[in-house]
């Protein structure tokens, strides 16, 4: 039997005093924090995928399975620093369709 997973797309804004934050470092930080809090098993079932990132606009879209949405939002709230830079990863919109999520990219 084929099981189709339902995905959620979370549009996030990066709020920071610095003009530039490396997206790779943010991706690593999200993965790392997810694994710290929910373990390797949890992060593997979350289906995290970084769909779209814009370093200039300081925004991006993270895809996850609909079961892990609340865990991902908890992880985003827990992150305060990326590579020594104070940052808020602020979720602004959640959608089940990527095209709709893209409209909310600042």
């Amino acid at each position: 039997m084929v099981i189709i997973t339902r995905d959620r797309y979370v549009v996030i804004n990066f709020i920071t005093d610095e003009s530039y934050v490396s997206m790779n470092l943010i991706k690593t930080k999200v993965w790392q924090t997810y694994q710290n809090v929910f373990g390797i098993s949890g992060s593997s079932s979350a289906g995290l995928y970084f769909e779209h990132f814009d370093e200039k606009k300081k925004s991006g879209i993270i895809r996850c399975s609909h079961d892990s949405l609340s865990s991902l939002l908890t992880v985003l709230a827990l992150i305060t620093k990326v590579d020594g830079i104070d940052v808020i990863l602020h979720p602004i919109y959640v959608s089940g369709v990527i095209n709709k999520a893209k409209k909310y990219l600042t």
Binding site: I15, L76, D86
Partner: protein, 281 residues
């Protein structure tokens, strides 16, 4: 998609009840971040009502408009309104409020070694602050404070010893319509995994106790830096880590703090000599 999943699209009113300005950040730094993440009300620790009013005048040249809760109350509520009516009217006003407008509340955190010291300090600060919280690890002080009508919040830091809070105290807090204030800052600022897991363990233990005794509680971030601010929805998701579901924390990020604030504003504005008796002309 369920309403719960689409939480970020709905307006979640937030109340940050304990902002400290000890790390060199100014109130406008906090307001700037609060404006982006939608926090319309902030209570600033150790700021008296006079200092706040001066701050509001000084901030009139900035792009933000700061107001005091008393001003908002006088503008939108009649003196004939009871507490529930006032809360409903002001809540509706907050939902329609301009996004650049922010309400600044004054707050004092009391801490003392013994009951006498707190008894001496309380009357001095009574009319200088709109909210009063108490932080202590001594059981006797907390039990005494639970009976005192001037105290609103019992502040608890998850990284400290929480054994002073037991079922008897929870029951007293509930009877006297006060709130336990959980500071979630230690979840964000813990230095290593050991500290983080200790804070989580304390938080889970405390939440279990509060839920068992149906004690009202509130969440605060207690931010030292503006980038440690989190809005109501984010605080509710952090609450999920402590073993309390998203729906159970509905009142913990705005309603409880707001009702305590409005009830204090009514008390401070009231010209009664004592309850039910007003001075005649």
């Amino acid at each position: 998609m369920s309403n719960r999943e689409n939480y970020v699209n709905k307006v979640q009113l937030s109340f940050e009840s304990n902002v400290s300005l000890i790390d060199g950040s100014t109130i406008l730094d906090f307001i700037e971040i609060a404006n982006i993440i939608n926090i319309p009300i902030m209570a600033v620790d150790n700021l008296t009502i006079d200092e706040r009013n001066k701050l509001i005048d000084d901030a009139s040249i900035s792009r933000f408009s700061l107001v005091s809760p008393a001003h908002m109350y006088n503008l939108h509520c009649n003196t004939s309104y009871n507490l529930e009516q006032a809360i409903t009217v002001l809540r509706n006003h907050l939902s329609d409020m301009d996004s650049n407008q922010h309400i600044i509340v004054t707050r004092k955190n009391l801490s003392g070694k013994n009951i006498d010291e707190i008894k001496r300090n309380l009357p001095k600060i009574r009319f200088q602050y709109e909210l009063i919280g108490i932080f202590s690890e001594t059981k006797n002080i907390l039990k005494w404070a639970a009976h005192d009508r001037r105290i609103d919040f019992f502040a608890v830091d998850l990284s400290s010893n929480i054994s002073s809070i037991d079922a008897a105290l929870c029951s007293l807090i509930k009877q006297n319509n006060k709130f336990v204030e959980l500071s979630l800052a230690s979840l964000l600022t813990s230095g290593d995994d050991k500290e983080f897991s200790q804070s989580l363990r304390n938080g889970k233990k405390l939440m279990k106790l509060l839920l068992q005794n149906r004690t009202p509680f509130i969440f605060s971030m207690n931010p030292k830096s503006p980038l440690h601010l989190r809005n109501g929805s984010q605080m509710r998701f952090l609450g999920e880590l402590l073993g309390v579901s998203y729906n159970q924390t509905k009142k913990a990020v705005f309603e409880n703090q707001f009702s305590a604030l409005i009830s204090n504003i009514i008390k401070l504005n009231d010209s009664s000599i004592f309850e039910g008796v007003k001075e005649g002309i």
